[in-house]
């Protein structure tokens, strides 16, 4: 014996008490800082009960002391913050937390301490906190909400606190497919999985618990003449040994989605910190695509609604039985059982056999017969029929149970003939609710079973079947027959053939008499005023709250749910749902099926954010693309900016330089000497075939088919609404081969755009579209000395002005590497873009750097590129375009063909709306103060009265130009092209900045520099 007040001796229950724990080892853990002990095999819940801990938390709204009521995922009260620091996780159900040495648990929802809680004052004023209280009270005055009501409510309410630091643990996701997914590892699930396995199906069976078997270990009977536990153990071993079966423990199927896609969360390492230390993920999210689903999720016992039924010491009957049998723990020493069915008699038997006094069995039914009842009668236990609990005698502060008051159940009127029975444990059983949650996630419709007084699965459009208790089948022989047939049928449906249907194992079980629903037990006192019959323990919703909601006019159960918050806590009303429906039905004087039920939604139990995120954090947060030159950028101090998923060098700051200083230096280097830009991210698409030119004429605004081999042309791409979406240089590589350049961000989109039009509109055109962006490293060598740099490399190309003209394309070699060279310029300088196969990129880049050093070559980044293109009046897709701008707005009519019969966007561009003269047009802006750089995006107005004016446009690009030593900007201004020389104003904070509308080409208007 371990010496703990509530741990039963090993000899109890015929030597079977605590079959899951290892009494030879002791583990220590802390609860609110106090050190307690338990054994391997314990849950936090069983260990707390063994230590005599009754109060485990305070309730959500009234801060009433609460104890454990359940033993599994249905537990509404026993929520703890487990772990320390960044590893602390709130709202963990103690019933599912496996005990390990050093576990630290903190109770929640109490301040300053569990023992003394300020919020418990809420309970004293509880008449002021009726259903819909927040909606009613905090509506007025409106301004109070943000600063007074909300902060107060947030501090006083809520469940556990979130951890404050980044999660140090790792998570992962795995995709898995199977013929049959069996949800639940109880006896039904095991039998179904075995039948599916034997039929040849690939099977996954998952259970939320560390242990398989569900609650069959607590139900007695035999399977194939042996103890059901032995039968299940042997069968699970058979499943696990089969390489076509995946057996998953600690894995909750949390959601079922269309087409039998299911999401499961496996708690890989929560039970053992050593696994985390060894590198294991804490949780693993399984994304399952199943051919067929067999739902064997069991059933959840219902509490009973009597006054003060939330007093610590009042628990579900099956849970008490489980604590005794599995963990050798009795939550009390003098028990009373309150039931409306036969199953609770098993609890009486277990308690009796474990040596725990059963003071009384109160049965709400007029009578009960059968072997279970007879056996208990034989122990000499007193039974009281047709009665209920009319009240609870609580310890000071409501922290425990002293006695209950029993009274005959009458349909109406006052409670009389009250008898007080001293006890410290009440085992309640209000019947069983099939766990139909997953059945309902997709299309499942429920039927109401009068026999069970509960909803059971009805029809579904999914390839899903329900077996065992989840289907309302509770008797062991029937469960095995249904599950075996279900598993076999599922396998057959999934794989087409499955052989002869197997015979289910033979089982024997005690028969049970019918249950009788009871939704509400009257309490002493007139009209039960002031009594709390709790329905939803986690959200503190009482029967009176639900009745009030109905009295106030709520009829739909979905409205009652939201008004009262019933079933909206983290347990989603697992223990409260049907009881509440009973109350609503009574109040509306209709039947429960007429009331209907609220919708069940994923997740069945909460999922960690880490599991949702999986691997996608840190370096894998999103894909980052690397150019072939990236490693050079890294060792040479590049300062990056994101461009799509690329990280392009914004500039290359030297030791003490700011970003701005670096950009200025880089611009001047290109303007006066020579610069080198990594342009590998540029989109590249080869369009080849006899009709390639014809096709490009249809895509581009200008004519491409007339391009001569070895020449390049700038082109514009419009969508079919006439708006510009991309631009770039097209080169004709060969008679029937064009190379299209796109902007970095539009590479994939443009290739898909071409395919779309080719495949849907002009499939007869003879051509192929091949995206080759990643095949090539590409860099711009720009500046007055660019030619000299290239000429100093070993090449078969003649770079002289006459042999290699502006807008020429030639293929050849540089230092032996194959290259494609385009003499094009985005900076306005003499410029060559050199492309080489990606693998040669890094070495060629280095060779250019080496050759360029004597000429003062400097690498430059995207910002210098942008400044220089702006100095030259070149538009930038994404700056000067936003999806509403046409080529005409940008003054690019020279690139828009008037001769071509058709091309994408042509007709739209001719509509009156896009031809209006008062559209916003592309202009340059020179601020009156040349040192002032306008903010990007600032609005422009006519006149000087900012308060009255309508904006006439906005700034689309704005820079300090080192070349001109002044600020420059582009703007889109109404009738801009007619307004050259006019002054407009830009309201910035409280002042107006004046600027003159000018030609957008600020530098080298004749283009002499690029033509040398």
């Amino acid at each position: 014996m371990s010496g703990l007040p509530h741990r039963l001796p090993e000899a109890a229950l015929g030597g079977r008490a605590g079959r899951l724990i290892d009494r030879s080892q002791t583990l220590s853990f802390t609860f609110d800082g106090k050190t307690l002990t338990g054994h391997p095999g314990d849950t936090l819940a069983s260990a707390l009960l063994a230590n005599g801990v009754r109060v485990v938390g305070r309730s959500f709204k009234y801060h009433r002391p609460r104890g454990l009521i359940g033993i599994g995922s249905e537990e509404p009260n026993g929520l703890f913050a487990i772990g320390d620091g960044a590893r602390m996780e709130p709202n963990i159900r103690a019933t599912q937390a496996e005990l390990y040495d050093g576990l630290t648990a903190q109770s929640q929802n109490r301040w300053p301490s569990l023992d003394f809680d300020v919020g418990a004052l809420n309970a004293r004023f509880s008449r002021l906190f009726p259903a819909g209280f927040y909606y009613k009270t905090f509506m007025w005055p409106r301004v109070f909400w943000k600063h007074i009501y909300e902060p107060f409510i947030r501090r006083a309410a809520g469940l556990g606190p979130p951890p404050q630091d980044a999660d140090p643990d790792s998570y992962e996701q795995v995709h898995v497919h199977c013929d049959v997914l069996v949800v639940g590892g109880g006896v039904a699930g095991i039998a179904a999985a075995k039948a599916a396995m034997d039929a040849g199906a690939r099977v996954i069976i998952a259970d939320e618990s560390a242990r398989f078997g569900g609650i069959t270990d607590l139900e007695g009977g035999t399977i194939d003449d042996i103890d059901p536990v032995e039968w299940m153990r042997a069968t699970v071993a058979e499943l696990a040994a089969n390489e076509r079966v995946q057996v998953l423990k600690r894995t909750t199927v949390s959601g079922h989605y269309d087409h039998n896609y299911a999401v499961m969360m496996e708690r890989v390492a929560d039970h053992n910190p050593a696994l985390i230390a060894a590198g294991a993920p804490r949780h693993r999210l399984w994304k399952v695509r199943a051919g067929e689903v067999v739902l064997a999720s069991g059933a959840i016992e219902r509490p009973l609604a009597f006054a003060d039924n939330d007093t610590p010491g009042i628990m579900l009957s099956s849970a008490v039985r489980g604590y005794v049998a599995r963990y050798g723990v009795t939550p009390g020493h003098d028990a009373v059982i309150i039931t409306n069915n036969d199953d609770a008699y098993r609890t009486a038997q277990t308690l009796f056999e474990a040596g725990v006094n059963v003071a009384r069995i109160i049965d709400t039914r007029p009578d009960a017969q059968g072997t279970l009842v007879d056996r208990v009668k034989a122990f000499g236990t007193r039974l009281t029929f047709s009665s209920g609990i009319a009240g609870v005698v609580r310890e000071a502060g409501g922290k425990g149970l002293r006695a209950i008051k029993v009274a005959p159940l009458r349909r109406s009127g006052r409670v009389g003939d009250v008898e007080t029975i001293p006890c410290d444990l009440v085992c309640m059983s209000g019947g069983w609710n099939p766990a139909v949650h997953l059945f309902c996630h997709v299309t499942g419709k429920l039927d109401f079973s009068e026999d069970l007084a509960s909803f059971v699965p009805g029809t579904t459009n999914e390839r899903l079947r329900v077996v065992g208790a989840a289907n309302g089948t509770f008797d062991l022989p029937s469960i095995l027959k249904e599950a075996t047939a279900g598993g076999h049928a599922a396998a057959k449906a999934a794989i087409g053939k499955a052989g002869r249907a197997p015979k289910a194992p033979t089982a024997r079980a005690d028969s049970e008499g019918p249950m009788e629903p009871v939704w509400f037990m009257p309490a002493e006192g007139a009209k039960n005023e002031g009594n709390k019959h709790f329905l939803d323990f986690q959200n503190d919703v009482t029967a009176a709250d639900v009745e009030l909601a109905v009295r106030e006019g709520y009829r739909s159960v979905e409205h009652v749910k939201r008004y009262t918050t019933l079933g909206m806590a983290t347990d989603q009303g697992k223990t409260s749902n049907i009881n509440a429906l009973g109350i609503v039905a009574d109040a509306l004087e209709i039947s429960i099926p007429q009331v209907g039920t609220t919708r069940f939604r994923p997740p069945y139990t909460p999922i960690s954010f880490g599991a949702f995120v999986g691997q996608k954090r840190g370096a894998l947060f999103q894909p980052i693309r690397r150019t072939p030159i990236q490693s050079w950028h890294e060792v040479n101090g590049a300062d990056y900016e994101p461009v799509g998923q690329w990280r392009r060098p914004y500039c290359f700051p030297r030791a003490s330089e700011t970003r701005e200083q670096a950009v200025i230096r880089e611009v001047l280097a290109v303007r006066t000497k020579v610069g080198l830009l990594d342009a590998s991210t540029l989109g590249k698409i080869e369009v080849s075939g006899p009709d390639a030119g014809k096709f490009l004429d249809l895509m581009y605004t200008n004519v491409m088919s007339s391009l001569k081999v070895g020449r390049c042309r700038y082109g514009l791409l419009m969508n079919d609404q006439g708006f510009l979406f991309d631009d770039g240089v097209v080169a004709r590589l060969d008679d029937d081969r064009f190379l299209v350049h796109t902007t970095s961000g539009n590479a994939d989109h443009t290739a898909a755009w071409f395919e779309l039009w080719h495949q849907t509109e002009w499939p007869k055109l003879n051509l192929f579209i091949t995206p080759v962006t990643e095949q090539w490293a590409q860099f711009a060598i720009a500046g007055p000395k660019a030619r000299q740099v290239l000429q100093s490399l070993d090449s078969d190309l003649d770079f002289s002005a006459d042999a290699f003209k502006f807008m020429d394309y030639q293929a050849g070699h540089l230092n032996g590497a194959p290259v494609r060279v385009f003499r094009i310029s985005f900076s306005g300088e003499l410029s060559y873009e050199v492309a080489t196969p990606a693998g040669r990129g890094l070495a060629l880049w280095q060779a250019v750097i080496d050759a360029g050093t004597v000429h003062g070559l400097e690498p430059y980044g995207t910002e210098a590129l942008h400044v220089m293109r702006a100095e030259k009046g070149f538009i930038m897709i994404g700056d000067e375009t936003d999806g509403t701008v046409t080529p005409l707005d940008l003054g690019l009519s020279w690139a828009v063909s008037k001769k071509k019969a058709d091309y994408v966007g042509k007709r739209a561009l001719q509509t009156p709306a896009l031809q209006r003269p008062d559209r916003r047009q592309f202009v340059g802006i020179e601020t009156d103060d040349p040192t002032f750089v306008l903010p990007d995006g600032v609005q422009a107005i006519d006149g000087t009265d900012a308060s009255a004016a309508e904006p006439i446009g906005y700034v689309s690009s704005t820079y300090y130009s080192p070349t001109l030593d002044r600020s420059i900007a582009f703007a889109l201004i109404e009738r801009g092209s007619e307004r050259m020389g006019e002054t407009v104003h830009f309201p910035i904070d409280d002042r107006l900045v004046a600027g003159k509308i000018v030609d957008p080409v600020f530098y080298d208007k004749e283009g002499e520099r690029q033509n040398v």
Partner: protein, 205 residues
């Protein structure tokens, strides 16, 4: 002047320690790849290409064909990837171009466009299940199988090279090679071993 060296897409990374991973991952990006397009109904052009290759271009979805060290992978109804050693590529490309000369086709050398990662080892399919949403245990994933897939969040192609023991090639676009390798190494981390569809210790009852 020195020759311009070829640099692989993963040259900047240190390889993982050999015992750190459940599988072996090797970079074989230095092999060459041709992108071949032929009209889906153009049997003559297909025959011309097949003659050069020495085997019929595969026309079944997700299939491949090969002879000696050249293999062709079905990529769509009118697209194949021809994977061959770098040496001899120029000759192969020229021979194909000549044979296809008058037929409607496109032949593009894309040898540097992708990274090709070879993964092998007993845990291959379990590790790839953490990377790719398809059923890695499907019977159809046998040697010669090729499929375009999503790896993590990127486009990839997967080739089953051999089974027993499993060998797979993963093709990803070059710029994503580092991302793919990071994802693979994390999925294959020995501390995160996953036993999938294998005999396993049964849970307690």
């Amino acid at each position: 002047m020195s020759d311009i060296a070829w640099t692989g897409p993963l040259a900047h990374r240190d390889p993982a320690a050999s015992d750190a991973l459940d599988i072996e991952i090797a970079d074989r990006s230095d092999i060459s790849v041709l992108d071949l397009r032929i009209g889906s109904k153009d049997t003559k052009a297909r025959a011309a290409a097949s003659k050069v290759l020495g085997f019929d271009l595969p026309t079944d979805p997700r299939s491949s064909a090969s002879a000696s060290d050249v293999a062709a992978y079905w990529f769509s109804i009118d697209q194949w990837l021809i994977i061959a050693p770098r040496e001899g590529l120029v000759a192969l490309e020229q021979a194909l171009a000549e044979a296809l000369g008058s037929h409607r086709h496109a032949l593009t050398d894309v040898s540097d466009m992708r990274a090709i990662l070879r993964v092998q080892g007993e845990s291959c399919r379990a590790v790839l299940s953490k990377c790719i949403p398809i059923d890695m245990y499907a019977d159809e994933i046998a040697p010669g199988y090729v499929r375009r897939v999503t790896l993590g969040e990127i486009a990839a192609a997967m080739i089953c090279v051999a089974d027993d023991p499993d060998v797979f090639d993963l093709l990803v676009f070059r710029s994503y090679a580092d991302y793919a390798m990071t994802w693979l190494e994390e999925a294959a981390d020995a501390g995160r071993s996953l036993s999938l569809f294998r005999p396993d210790t049964p849970p307690a009852v």
